[in-house]
Point group: C2
Chain length 220, copies 2
DNA sequence: TCGAAAAATGGACGCTTGTCCATTTTTTGG
DNA sequence: CCAAAAAATGGACAAGCGTCCATTTTTCGA
């Protein structure tokens, strides 16, 4: 019986390496230079490869940008999924894991925020990026909604669907706002403060399910 | 005694008109084509003027973009100030006016949102735009913080400064998130729902100062 | 080991960009 | 009404863009 390992030719390994180098270089350029500054020349210079590679591995600059956006998206979900797996199984723990992970340094950092907002700014024009952006949004939205629905039902709310929808909507909007805050003031940003505020929001909605460890309640 | 009215030469009036036409055309282009699509050719075509005008009225495309951003900023504050003047004088009414105005169709519409996020995406690279963006943020942040501080003191919170800071931070982040939500799903967006969620947040922080008219509390 | 095939190179190409300026048109004040 | 001044025009220009392809280099399978 032949070993399947090491069966893949060197050629393909090197090919894949260059492919990834192009994607990484593209994301680096977007983070540092913005979309406008991310030219083919800038990308291939950073990747240390030749001009023609972009046309060989992708079908031009647009496709490269699209695949770079998809890879970024995949990284986001890999990190989130790992955190959700490590967290406890209860809805409260899952929600808190989403919040803390989304605000953690693994996801909310200067590189990631720069790329994210650069893409969003041009998403309207480029369908490829808009699709990926919406997909990310929809997946996360649905997951967090289901979690809140379980909480709302266990809390015996009058209208659990509406409450869960509001909770999901508000939590995502808050997280989004924290990202924008970080983008504009990366040095003044305080991770604990951002986390505390989101938890304040949740504690306001579900007082018996979320508590502020360390933070005083706003009113007695 | 000479009349001062009509003293200004026709020349200056026409000059100013063309200047404004360039700024408006620039903002239209950014809204429809994105920053990348906003070329000098696109701008002058939309304005119905000749190429050289950009260099005559401004000192090139960059300055034009900067002044366009400043004008957008001025429009935002004019609308907000008018709403605050029309609203009642109490801190609660002032906060609610900010929220409702920020989410009103006068400010939160497709044109405005497109321009806003297009600028933000490239703000990192262009100092001129970044400065205006931060200024807007700082002005609004301070105003809303002072208002919350009054509320927190009247509510006799244990730490009014921290509570007011959290409330201002959270409210702005929520509004920011609602804008992003509108940008991505302008048709699915529900203005009342967004407003209700922000008020839920405020009611959670200050139960005796904000109430949800029409909305059920999440828990009894 | 060697011919075939795949991968990588980098220069040439046409096109668009923003800037600038010689020219024309309009407006002004006497 | 007319000369001087201001405003507006639009083409020329160099620089930079993304694409493409003839050529060279590397890897593969027999």
């Amino acid at each position: 019986m032949e070993r399947q390992v090491d069966k893949k030719p060197t050629r393909d390994i090197l090919r894949e390496r260059n492919r990834m180098a192009l994607i990484t270089a593209t994301l680096d350029c977007v983070a540092e230079l913005g979309i406008a500054g991310t030219s083919v020349s800038a990308i291939i210079e950073r990747a240390g490869l030749s001009r023609g590679m972009i046309h060989l591995h992708f079908d031009g600059k647009d496709k490269l940008l699209e695949e770079a956006a998809q890879q970024l998206n995949a990284q986001y979900y890999d990190t989130l999924d790992a955190a959700l797996l490590a967290a406890g199984p209860s809805p409260e723990e899952q929600v808190e894991a989403i919040v803390r992970t989304d605000l953690s340094v693994d996801l909310l950092n200067e590189r990631y925020a720069n790329i994210w907002y650069a893409f969003r700014g041009e998403a309207r024009k480029r369908d490829s990026i808009a699709v990926f952006s919406n997909t990310r949004d929809a997946r996360l939205r649905n997951r967090i909604f289901q979690t809140f629905l379980a909480i709302a039902r266990s809390a015996e709310c009058p209208e659990p669907e509406q409450v869960a929808r509001d909770a999901a909507h508000g939590t995502l909007a808050l997280l989004e706002g924290m990202w924008a805050d970080f983008l504009l003031h990366p040095h003044a940003f305080r991770r604990e403060e951002a986390t505390r505020i989101v938890l304040r929001f949740l504690a306001g909605l579900f007082p018996s399910h979320f508590t502020l460890s360390g933070a005083q309640p706003a009113e007695r």
